[in-house]
């Protein structure tokens, strides 16, 4: 209470008001210039759409394109805390940076490849559990039964909680003496676990937290997919005497692929990029619990090696890009194929009705 004074509120509102005015003026000037140039001078037929998208495009250029270009530039530099104002840029340095990503520890002890393998393991574990258990729960929930609405509501609680709150709460619960996992283990007559100082158990702890956090999203998305499937496929398979496993594999999975595939792609990208959970659970800054993105953050902001980190970031980005393209090739996923499949589905449903 004491710190939220009217002066503080006035200062923050004043600053925000100022920047809002700047944005508004900038948009008006931009639109006016575009109007003069495209409409009046060139009589361009797409003048209106370009005027419509211009503010968004410029915003994204400022926030994404320019910083990435800047980052590429940084990768040519030896900028760190000492050389923050006057870094040197050269081709030799870009080569040094690239070499030190792979041939020297990215933090104090850990090299690039162990961190990379850990990230792959983390992503693999997470996406398998999310999809596997999410599909399992979705299938259980996809039937008329009592209390279904209640189950659904309770099961999405981890998704509804703010991620920062959930990760910090779990971090507290992994306390050796007072956290509930250890209290339960000791009551069961087992040994309490060093969740925070033992590298292996810390990795387990971050996996437990994120599995708990991520299942509801998959379950809800897949339940939506299951509910859109027509019962007639299953009835027909019944008549042919297909077993349950066969049906799951050859009817359910192929039919929900249009929902499953983008959800898995998103899941891989989100998990690979998940910062909050590994960063918060790793309270003792164990390098053995760092995945690529948290290692990147520490290299940049704990060790202040900006030039090196820029190169490290570019390497991570290329890996992510490669994985995504490869995955999309493998499952032959493309937005347009998806849309036409969806259109066909809607058509057949429409015909029946």
């Amino acid at each position: 209470m004491k710190s939220l004074t009217p002066e503080v509120m006035a200062t923050s509102l004043g600053q925000v008001g100022g920047i809002l005015a700047v944005i508004a003026v900038a948009v008006v000037v931009l639109e006016f210039l575009l109007f003069i140039l495209l409409k009046k001078a060139l009589h361009y037929r797409y003048a209106i759409p370009f005027m419509l998208i211009a503010p968004g495009v410029i915003g994204l250029v400022l926030l994404n394109v320019y910083p990435i270009a800047y980052e590429v530039g940084l990768a040519f530099s030896n900028m760190n805390l000492l050389r923050f104002r006057n870094p040197t840029y050269s081709l030799g340095i870009v080569w040094d940076n690239l070499k030190s990503v792979f041939a020297a520890p990215v933090l104090k002890q850990q090299y690039f490849f162990p961190v990379f393998l850990r990230t792959a393991l983390w992503t693999g574990i997470q996406v398998s559990f999310h999809v596997g258990l999410g599909l399992f729960l979705a299938i259980l929930l996809n039937r008329p039964m009592k209390l279904r609405g209640l189950y659904r509501t309770l099961l999405v609680v981890p998704w509804a909680l703010p991620q920062v709150v959930a990760s910090l709460a779990w971090r507290g619960e992994f306390n050796f003496e007072y956290g509930f996992p250890n209290v339960m283990l000791t009551r069961l007559g087992l040994h309490a676990v060093q969740w925070k100082s033992n590298p292996f158990w810390n990795f387990v702890a971050m996996n437990i937290t994120n599995i708990w956090l991520g299942i509801p999203f998959m379950a809800v998305i897949l339940l939506g997919g299951l509910q859109s499937l027509s019962k007639s496929y299953f009835e027909a398979a019944d008549m042919d005497g297909a077993g349950g496993w066969t049906k799951l594999r050859s009817i359910t999975l192929p039919l929900i692929k249009p929902i499953l595939a983008p959800a898995v792609v998103l899941g891989v990208i989100w998990t690979f990029n998940n910062f909050n959970v590994p960063f918060f659970i790793n309270e003792n800054n164990l390098e053995t619990s760092d995945i690529l993105v948290t290692a990147l953050f520490r290299a940049a902001f704990d060790f202040n090696r900006y030039g090196f980190s820029a190169m490290f970031a570019l390497v991570i980005f290329l890996i992510l890009l490669g994985i995504t393209i490869l995955y999309m090739r493998i499952i032959s996923f493309s937005p347009s194929a998806l849309a036409s499949r969806k259109a066909k589905e809607t058509l057949t449903v429409g015909e029946k009705a």
Partner: protein, 290 residues
């Protein structure tokens, strides 16, 4: 019946399950629900522990001598309200800017097949792949050079823009379902193109505008990384930074931390459940629609 019929019925049969099978399904779901809500209930139970028994190995959900003391302490003696205020005004402002910019851009993408349109849509998706820590390095250095560290200005611009790609996809998907004839007839009646957009399309799109606003709101409200880099002054912390700081003093402030966590979470969860129908349909809409 084959051996597989149990698995089959377990997974697919909805009517005519035997009572035993139905019991198994309910038991599995109840166990899943307990696992899902126990950690959240646990935060609540720690938050109402009395001051002298905060650190205990008690597992009871309602501790002996339960009290809301910690809530009062957090509101009165900590900077909690300041953090909430900081998060709140910046979130509202940036969500509004973000949705306004996205709503017009999405209209451009929906109604005109201008050169570069498809490339633009794919580029929007690609921005979602960029790891956030990757952007932090250049953003921090640029902000430091421009003197934007410890100001709200840099954060306002960054938060406003960061949800625009997702909002454009959601809104474009929705505009695509609105027939062109509606605008054409308005234009025959003398409305300008933008007049038709403002008077016909925008009111019709209220549900998807709400989804976009909500998405902007939650992502800015829960943001940690950029705030951590840009804001260092004590009086500028957002709730994510403040809560992190409280958790650092775990041994002494577990009950206070939990109370703050509960107070942050309840409105967010209420909003989530209130809007979950639209939110979820919006998510599938965004991912499935071309």
């Amino acid at each position: 019946m084959s051996k597989k019929s149990f698995i089959y019925r377990f997974f697919h049969r909805s009517v005519g399950d035997s009572p035993a099978k139905r019991t198994v399904i309910h038991v599995v779901l109840i166990v899943a629900c307990v696992i899902s809500i126990y950690p959240a209930l646990r935060v609540f139970s720690v938050s109402i522990r009395p001051g002298n028994r905060v650190l205990s190995t008690d597992l009871a959900l309602i501790p002996r001598g339960a009290t809301f003391e910690a809530y009062l302490t957090v509101v009165r003696d900590k900077d909690f309200l300041l953090w909430v205020w900081n998060s709140f005004f910046i979130t509202i402002t940036t969500s509004a800017i973000g949705v306004i910019i996205a709503s017009t851009s999405a209209y451009g993408f929906s109604r005109w097949n201008f050169p570069g349109r498809n490339a633009g849509l794919i580029a929007l998706l690609a921005t979602q792949m960029i790891p956030a820590p990757m952007l932090m390095i250049p953003l921090y250095i640029i902000a430091a050079r421009l003197g934007l560290i410890n100001t709200w200005r840099g954060l306002v611009i960054a938060y406003s823009v960061s949800s625009i790609p997702f909002s454009i996809w959601i809104l474009k998907g929705y505009y695509d379902t609105i027939p062109l004839e509606l605008e054409q007839s308005a234009m025959i009646d003398g409305a300008s193109r933008m007049g038709a957009f403002y008077r016909i399309i925008l009111p019709l799109s209220a549900p998807s505008l709400a989804i976009a606003f909500l998405f902007n709101f939650t992502s800015a409200w829960n943001e940690f990384l950029l705030a951590r880099i840009m804001l260092q002054k004590k009086e500028m912390l957002t709730w994510t930074l403040g809560l992190r700081q409280m958790q650092g003093q775990f041994q002494t402030q577990w009950a206070e931390f939990s109370a703050a966590a509960i107070m942050i979470s309840i409105p967010v969860m209420a909003l989530f459940f209130y809007s979950s129908k639209w939110l979820i349909s919006g998510l599938t809409l965004g991912s499935v629609k071309e």
